[in-house]
């Protein structure tokens, strides 16, 4: 039923297992490897059909400089940052507030509200495409970065609320009672007790929503049109149109675009402190 460790002395099974895992990992990483390799090849080489072989000439610097000199990627990159960072901050703030209230201050109908937050996640995004576009047009936000910020905050807060509510609900209840008994107001409890203790959750959530929003392509093309507001995902598509044959440049741009979520992960890593609540209650 459950996977069991393969015994040390079963040499053949172990070899098969290690071989199998390696194969799966290799297959999984193959597209990424292809993009990485392509991003350092010259265009001539690609035209000649050398897709998988060792590059004859390394064009790393040329390709990556070309991304910034010959395309509008820097603009798109800035747009993405302008969209993603406020959205992530908005989601974190709102979901901490909703999670705190829904987990600690139940009121009539609070479960229904929570169910709505959770249920919204199951709605396919495509269903909302036309209404949301319409809404943004009427609000005068269509084709501005605010359209994407507003939408992403609204859409991601559903999942984030589920995440934060469950995390805050898992904190020892006596901590909240103790704080209340000491005269702390709900706002003070949130600031001095909850936020410091949910830091690991906030870090994880920041990475998740950052990656979701940064990688979003669908809403980027639904809600924006002009290059001045397009984020990188939609911008990459532009690149394909202009430089049909320059796959090496597109690949270099892709790698560049994929970097921020990785950087984000390393930035947030130090907040993943296990056992932060240790010592709060017995044990």
């Amino acid at each position: 039923m459950y996977p069991r460790p393969i015994p040390e002395d079963a040499k053949i099974q172990r070899a098969l297992y290690v071989g199998g895992v390696t194969l799966v990992v290799a297959l999984w990483l193959l597209p990424l490897l292809a993009v990485m390799l392509t991003s350092i090849r010259s265009n001539e080489e690609l035209m000649a059909g050398n897709y998988w072989g060792w590059p004859q000439k390394f064009s790393l610097i040329e390709n990556y400089t070309a991304v910034f000199e010959q395309t509008a990627m820097l603009r798109f990159f800035l747009n993405s940052l302008l969209i993603t960072i406020p959205s992530v901050i908005g989601v974190l703030i709102l979901s901490t507030l909703t999670g705190f209230v829904l987990s600690r201050y139940p009121f009539r109908g609070s479960n229904l509200i929570f169910a709505l937050f959770v249920g919204g996640n199951f709605l396919p995004a495509q269903v909302m495409m036309i209404p949301v576009r319409d809404l943004m047009v009427r609000l005068g936000l269509y084709d501005t970065i605010y359209a994407l910020i507003v939408f992403h905050i609204a859409f991601q807060t559903g999942f984030a609320t589920l995440f934060m509510r469950n995390f805050i609900a898992a904190l020892p209840g006596e901590l909240f009672q103790a704080a209340r008994a000491e005269g702390a107001s709900p706002a003070q409890i949130l600031r001095h007790v909850v936020v410091p203790l949910v830091r690991p959750a906030l870090a994880a959530l920041a990475i998740l929503t950052f990656t979701f929003i940064w990688n979003d392509y669908f809403w980027a093309i639904v809600l924006t049109q002009s290059d001045a507001v397009k984020p990188v995902t939609a911008g990459l598509n532009n690149l394909r149109g202009e430089w049909t044959s320059a796959w090496n440049i597109v690949s270099a741009a892709t790698i560049f675009v994929a970097l921020p979520p990785v950087v984000m992960f390393f930035l947030m890593q130090k907040h993943f402190i296990s056992g932060l609540t240790m010592g709060a209650v017995k044990g």
Binding site: E174, A181, E182, A184, V193, L276, G279, A280, K282
Partner: protein
């Protein structure tokens, strides 16, 4: 002036009557311990005083002020929890100063209060540590320190020692009693441990099923339980109970019969309370049962076989099978009688012996559980 007063406090959880019209007055500076079995409502009652639980009807008065509708922080109470409930991300000093910090008190005042509490609780060396670096006993001291810094009118303790090991529990018990003497504050303490109740309390409140069964000093409750519940709850090993029937009732008292023991006569019983044929219960504390050389006519006694002997060094506890006479509702879950001898005894398992007691030491409980025997003298302290 009374420090805490509960007037007809009633609380329902969804479909469950947790507190039933509780009336209780706690005097200033008193150390009151609330005891009772699991689910009796003792913790709920404490949280009601704290304001962490709302009540359906009744009043909570602290220091003459009706605080029924007030927030916990405005009631002049401080609470210590079973799980300590320390803030793990704060140092010991920050934990102890939390309440004052939330009230925006000046830093000098907070520092002074923390220093004073740390001195009282011998935590000066630990002030910069985090809770996880402390031992269980130190953590509980920090939790108490956090209560002290706010100089509350009333301290509330919710089973504060039950997470500690036996040795530490004894030490903390002594420290808490010392703290009470030093601060002179009103303290309300909830526990299921009757040793804590007997040793620390000025008065004990025995709770059962959301009702106050009896309130009184530890020795008063031990000597004069108001009913069979209190009699069975206080005292370890537990009181032995025998089910019996009233045979005759007259001005001098009652006689009763039970299977396996000669008729017993109890004097001084209010004859109005019972009539012949009523099912009553006789209670005898284990220390009042004696091992007799031989059965004396005229003394209540019964033969039995020793099933188990516990040598506790200072005392010996025998479990005596006296079939057909059965002890009901016993600690061991059997029909065996518990006999406590205040010395090391050479009696072995399997020994046949006769146990006896004075009816003057025994209790008689009516069909409704109320104590029928007259008051017994309470040893002076």
């Amino acid at each position: 002036m009374s420090s805490v007063e509960l007037r007809k406090v009633d609380k329902h959880y969804a479909g469950y009557h947790a507190l039933k019209a509780i009336d209780l007055t706690i005097e200033k500076g008193e150390f009151v311990v609330m005891v009772g079995p699991s689910g009796c409502g003792k913790s709920t009652l404490l949280k009601t005083i704290a304001g962490l639980e709302t009540i359906n009807s009744g009043q909570v008065v602290i220091n003459g002020r009706d605080v029924t509708k007030e927030e916990p922080g405005d009631r002049g109470i401080a609470m210590v929890f079973q799980s300590y409930a320390l803030y793990p991300h704060m140092t010991v000093a920050e934990n102890m100063g939390f309440g004052l910090r939330m009230a925006n008190r000046p830093k000098a005042e907070i520092d002074a209060a923390v220093k004073r509490a740390a001195q009282i609780l011998r935590l000066e060396e630990q002030l910069d540590k985090r809770p996880k670096q402390l031992s269980g006993g130190q953590r509980q001291r920090v939790a108490i320190g956090r209560a002290i810094t706010r100089s509350p009118e009333v301290f509330l303790f919710d089973e504060p020692l039950s997470n500690l090991d036996a040795a530490l529990r004894t030490q903390m018990r002594v420290e808490l009693s010392g703290l009470h003497a030093q601060l002179g504050s009103t303290m309300v303490y909830v526990t299921h441990d009757q040793i804590e109740a007997m040793t620390m309390a000025d008065r004990i409140v025995v709770l059962n099923k959301g009702r106050v069964e009896q309130v009184g000093s530890p020795l008063e409750l031990y000597a004069n339980p108001a009913n069979i519940f209190v009699a069975g709850f206080l005292g370890a090993p537990r009181m032995n109970f025998i089910e019996a029937q009233i045979e005759t009732v007259n001005a001098a008292g009652v006689t009763l019969t039970a299977t396996g023991i000669p008729a017993l006569a109890f004097g001084g019983i209010d004859a109005g309370g019972v009539s012949p044929g009523d099912a009553v219960t006789v209670g005898i504390r284990p220390e009042h049962l004696r091992v007799l050389e031989r059965a004396n006519p005229g003394q209540a006694s019964f033969p039995g076989q020793v099933r188990l002997v516990e040598h506790l060094g200072r005392e010996t506890v025998l479990y005596l099978d006296a079939s057909p006479l059965q002890a009901t509702n016993s600690d061991s879950g059997t029909g065996n009688f518990t006999v406590q001898l205040n010395k090391v005894s050479p009696i072995n398992i399997g020994a046949q012996l006769t146990a006896g007691f004075e009816t003057a030491d025994a209790y008689l409980f009516g069909p409704d559980g109320r104590t029928l025997t007259p008051r017994k003298p309470v040893p002076a302290t």
